[in-house]
Amino acid sequence: MTDAPARITLDQWDVRYARLRAGGLAEPSYGGPLGRHLADGDRRLAKLRYDNSPAALRLWNFLLTEEDRLFAARQAGRKIVGVMKDLGTAAAMAMSLPNVTAFYPDGAWWIPCLMEHGSGVLEVAASLGLDDSFCPVRAMLGAFATGEHFPRPDLLVCSAGAVCDDFSAIAQLVEHLGNAILWWEMPARRRPADGEPAVPLPAGFTAPASQVAFVRGELDRVRKALGELAGLELDDQALAAGIARANHARGVLDELRLLAYSAEPCPMPALEMLIAEMLIIHYCSDRDEAPAVLEGLLAETRRRVDARLGVLPAGAARIFWVNPVADLRVMNLLEDCGGRLCGTELLFCHSLEPIPANLPPMEALARTALADPMVGAVRDRAERICAEIIRFGAEAVVVSRIPGASHCALEGGLIGGIIGGRLGLPVLEIEAPELSDSMMPTLRTRLEAIVETVKERRR
């Protein structure tokens, strides 16, 4: 086995791990062989292929130890805050407090994918009235009911209003289980009317000043609750420091994305990039370690780019990916079919943008929250996607839908139509459930076909 960039199996990783350890690999406290997570029940890991760098090992270990971290935080007496239906804003606020650990309960939707049918969270959700006609985020309800995947939070905050129907139903059932929720309202973002005072938002959007002021007021309630929970005032100074930390992590990720999605040959696999992007929402419950993990991945990517090393053969079809996949295997499949990731819009692009540091913190946070692609018009989101496609030079687009996810169901076709019409690129819509094993042949055909289409267009 060489040290050249490669995608390797879990078994191969464990062999490599032993060799790296013997060679003096230094690891953080959560380090160890990846195979141990399989033994803990993350069955899906046996079917994935991973980047073979120590930086990727650290990324995976960081991701897969989040539950341990949360239970340890509880043991240590830290305040646990669940930030639901929040893609980076309330988390940044919560993590501005030294004695608070924030996490993202919605992330439980990946539990069934990692544990396959071993977790039981979907079955529990079904027993509580949410069957597979609902978004996979219903796994969160099962996780709250079993209490096995994260400690019961000291505070739960959740946005309401411009939220998809499925999530709203799921969150209300979580509350009915006895988990009090501090609801804050997010209005549907609209474009300012003629003559109406408007303010720019991150990601190039604009919104009426009145909407920003409203969101600021809502987030003020969250701020107050967080301060009361922590027994500390969440003042502007603390928030500014939290924002600076968030912006540092976002900056690292932005550089990583630019390198990974632009360089030829592809320096970092799609799966690791997906995980890296997901980290930015809530830092995997560790605000200090997450940026370090991303920095490690960036350093490895930069090293490969400088050395012109790729993890995939040169010439892979450059695919822009819209919406996260529920089944991680699909990211491997893209590469198996001759494609590579060349940009993403995973429903939280506003979390990748710097929070404006030149504004009062609450104003900056309100503007960032309102830049959420899911609270605005499809057209806004599609325009942002088009800009990103151009930025990274993608040759085709895959719009991935998740069965039961009401948001994806309606937006995918519209976004595909706008992208196809504006940029003339081939757009493929796919649907992949949490466990797409039975659908792998059909998904493979579609992805191979889009790769063939791209390569034919190059001639």
Partner: protein, 263 residues
């Protein structure tokens, strides 16, 4: 030099031999798909070669396509049905800008550029309502040969309204229609219309004429007119529609040999 294409589909395996220089079709064969799909594919190609006194070594290159393409171990390479159908249609009907292919277990929409390359595509393989399987179910339920469906549908005077959303529910509807005395021809015409509606939903607003119709279901008389009625455009059934994928695969095999005189 000879090249071959094999379309290992869900219901049938099709094989086509072409002259790699002129791309002229030298022969074709169709076998029902079986449990041993690799053996069926081999039989389909040998059925073409043996009468000509040829063996596998006389075939310069073989491309496999279709849902079972990866099982055809003796193929030199595999190419998806999307690319193969586009190539096969282009060969027969260069003016086509939209291709509708309805096979045994899926249906596809391809939009082609002026030079015949695939611009975009969509597939439906999650629901049998827009596929040949729907027709098989109806033929079985009404005890009518599959090949006579179109002929019988032409006699319809009051086509039934059938759900285009789900074959299972549609079957229930058909049982109900029979029980209420509906004529088989009206039921069949309703089913053809339902399939056409399902395909039209996939096409959406992306239709650009001329429209080529291919795949095994295109052989059912009346299906083209049902499609044309729903789409509001004329639809041209290509020659030997069941063979289009295999033909495209054979042409792509010839191209990759670098010997074909045509694009």
């Amino acid at each position: 030099m000879i090249c071959a294409g094999i379309d290992a589909g869900s219901r049938a395996v099709k094989a086509v031999l072409v002259d790699s220089r002129s791309l002229a079709t030298l022969g074709s064969s169709v076998l029902d798909q079986g449990v041993h799909q690799d053996r069926t594919a081999l039989a389909a190609i040998e059925q073409l070669l043996a009468p000509r006194g040829l063996g596998r070594r006389d075939v310069a290159r073989i491309v496999a396509t279709g849902y079972a393409r990866n099982i055809v171990e003796f193929a030199d390479t595999t190419i998806t049905e999307i690319t193969c159908h586009a190539c096969g249609v282009r060969h027969q009907m260069p003016s086509a800008r939209t291709v509708i292919e309805i096979g045994g277990q899926d249906s596809k929409l391809l939009r082609l550029a002026d030079d015949g390359r695939v611009r975009d595509f969509a597939m439906n393989d999650r629901c049998a309502a827009g596929t040949g399987r729907f027709l098989e179910m109806v033929a079985g339920k009404l005890e009518v040969p599959l090949g006579r469906l179109g002929e019988i549908a032409a006699l319809a005077t009051n086509p039934a309204a059938i759900s285009s959303m789900c074959v299972v529910f549609a079957e229930t509807e058909i049982i109900g229609l029979l029980a209420s005395g509906a004529h088989p021809q009206d039921i069949i015409a309703g089913v053809l219309g339902a399939i056409a509606s399902r395909v039209a939903a996939m096409v959406g607003r992306r239709l650009e004429a001329p429209v080529a119709f291919t795949g095994g279901v295109a052989m059912v008389p009346g299906m083209d007119s049902a499609l044309a009625g729903v789409l509001g455009r004329s639809v041209t059934v290509v020659n030997y529609p069941q063979m289009t994928g295999a033909l495209g695969a054979a042409i792509l095999a010839a191209r990759s040999c670098g010997q074909s005189e045509k694009g």
